[in-house]
Symmetry: C2
Subunit: 332 residues, 2 copies
Amino acid sequence: MAREQLRSALIAGSTIVGLSIGLGGIAAADEYVQYRDFFEPLPAMPPIPAVNSMTEARVELGRMLFFEPRISASGVISCATCHNPALGYTDRIPRAVGHDGQVGERNTPTVLNSGFFEAQFWDGRAATLEEQALGPIEAEVEMAMPLEAALERITEFAIYVEKFHAAFPGDDDPVHADNVALSLAAFQRTLNTPNSPLDLWLVGDDGAMSESQKRGMVAFVERGCLGCHAGPALTDSQFHVIQTPGSTDLGRFLVTGEEHDRHAFKTPTLRNVALTYPYFNNGEVASLDEAIVVMGQEMLGIELEGQELEDLVAFMHALTGAIPQFPVPPLP
Amino acid sequence: MAREQLRSALIAGSTIVGLSIGLGGIAAADEYVQYRDFFEPLPAMPPIPAVNSMTEARVELGRMLFFEPRISASGVISCATCHNPALGYTDRIPRAVGHDGQVGERNTPTVLNSGFFEAQFWDGRAATLEEQALGPIEAEVEMAMPLEAALERITEFAIYVEKFHAAFPGDDDPVHADNVALSLAAFQRTLNTPNSPLDLWLVGDDGAMSESQKRGMVAFVERGCLGCHAGPALTDSQFHVIQTPGSTDLGRFLVTGEEHDRHAFKTPTLRNVALTYPYFNNGEVASLDEAIVVMGQEMLGIELEGQELEDLVAFMHALTGAIPQFPVPPLP
C-alpha cells in the first residue's frame, strides 16, 4: 500500500521528502534503494487465463501459426512479418505494411510481454490476446485472409490437424478459429523479456544499471512517468488523450464513441522501448530522446532536456530484457 | 573413374549387368551396396572461393543482411521473406510474391545447399552466390530497392558499419555493394543440410533408408535420373530444355539468346525436394509424385507409375537433411 500511496502522491504532483535527482553528482547505490518499491521485476510468466491452459502442445501450435505465411491472402505475410523477431517483435517502420504493400494507419506494437497488457491494440478494441489474435489475419491491410479460407488452408496439412488435436484434446473437430486464437495467445505469452538491467537491479544487483540509468529512474519516478507507465510491463493498459506529432487518429474514440476517448491511445509498454522504435501511434517519432521530449510536453507539461533527458534515455535502455531465442519452427 | 563410367553408361541408356529393380520383392541391404558409388554424401561445406574468405564476421554480417527487411523499398521484405527458414528456405507458393504484392514469373528456388550449385537462378544468369546476391534486392518485383538506397539505410546503423569493418578489415570504406554480396554469399554457404537418410546410408548406416527408399534409389539410377541430378547437391548445374505444365517461360534463352536454350532451365537440386514444393520453374506442380511423372515423360520419355513411382517418391524423402537451426539474429 505504501507503494500505491507514493504513486498517487507522484501523480498528484507532490514532492517526495528527501529525494533529489542529484543531477551531475555521483550517488551511492543505497541512495536509490527506496526506488525499488516503485517497480516490479518482470514475472517469469504473465497471468494465464483459465480459459486457455498453456500446454506445450498449444504453445508449439501457436508458434507454428505465428510464423505461418500461408494463412495470408498473398501466402507470404505471417504474424512474424510485422512482429518480426529480428526487430523486437515489431517492424521498425512508421506504419505497418501489409497485403499488396498497403500501409496501415498505425505503428505496429511489439508483442513482447503482451501477455501482461490488460488491453490489446492501440485503441484497446480487444481486451485479451485471444480476442486480438484473429484481427490481423482478416484485416484487409494486413494479411487479408477470410478466416474460413485460412482454416481451409491449415486443414490441407495433416500435421496441422494432428497438432490441433494434440493442443485441444477435448475437441472433436479442433481446427476452428477459436483454437487458432487460443494457440496464438498461448505462444505469445511465452514472449517475455526478463533480466533487463532494471530487473537485475530490482533483485539486488546494484551494478546492473549505470549511474545515468539510476538517475533516469529517479527522474522517471519524480516527474510522474510512473503515473501511467507502471506495473510489470510499465503500462497501466489505460487510455490517455495525447496529441502525437502529425497524428489525426481519433484512437479509442473509434471504439467507444465517447468524447473523452477522442485521440486517446493505450499506454504502450516501455519494456524494450529502445528496440521498438519508431514511436507513438503513427510511428512519426524516430528517436527515444525526441519521444521523451514529446511525452514531457504532452503528458506532463514540462520540458525535459539536458542531463535529465540523457538520463531518461539511459533508463529506457535499462528496460531492454532478454529476447526469447529459438529457431524458426519448421512448417509443413 | 568406375563411377564416371557407370554414370555414362546409364546416361547412354545401357543396362547394368546384374542389377534389377526388384519391384515388390524385399532386397537384403547388401544388394544395394554397389549403388553407393553413384552418390556422394553432402560435404560439410561447399567450395569456398578464394575471393570470399568465409570468416565468422562475414557470415554473421551476411546472416543479419539476409534477415534485414529495411533494405527493401517497403521496409518489410527481406531475403528471408521468400527464402523462409520455416519453409525450407523457399516460400511454398507457385511464384514469388514481392514488392506491393507483385507476383513474379518463377518459383522461388531454395538457398539450402546453394553453395554447391555451379549456376544460380533458374536461368543461370549468375554463376556464383556473389553474383546472385544483389539481384533480388534491386528487382522491381522483389525487394525493389536501388542498391544506393539500401547502402544508405545500412549506413544509418552504427552497428552495421562496425560489422562491415569487422568482416572486411582490409577495406577502409567497407559499406558497399560488393561487400553486401560477399557477406550474403558467405552466410548462404552455411545453409547446408547434411545427414539426410541417403547421406547416412552412404556412410554405412544400412537402416537409414527404408526398403522402398532403396528401391527408389535403384530406379533413380536405372531410369537415368542421375544423368542430370548428380553430384553432392544432386544437380549438374546445367541447363536442359523442358516443357513443364503451363509454362511459356523462355528460360535460359533470355540470358544467352541461343536457340538451344529456348525453354531450358537449370537442373534444380533434389536435396530437400520434399520440402521445396511446389515444383518446376513456374511452381505449377504441387506434389512430388506428379513432378516425378512429368520428369519421366519430359526428360526420359517413360511413364513412371505404380510401385516404382511410390518408391521414387520415398527416395525423394530420403534426400531431406538436417536444416540449419539458429535463432533469427537481432537487428539494430
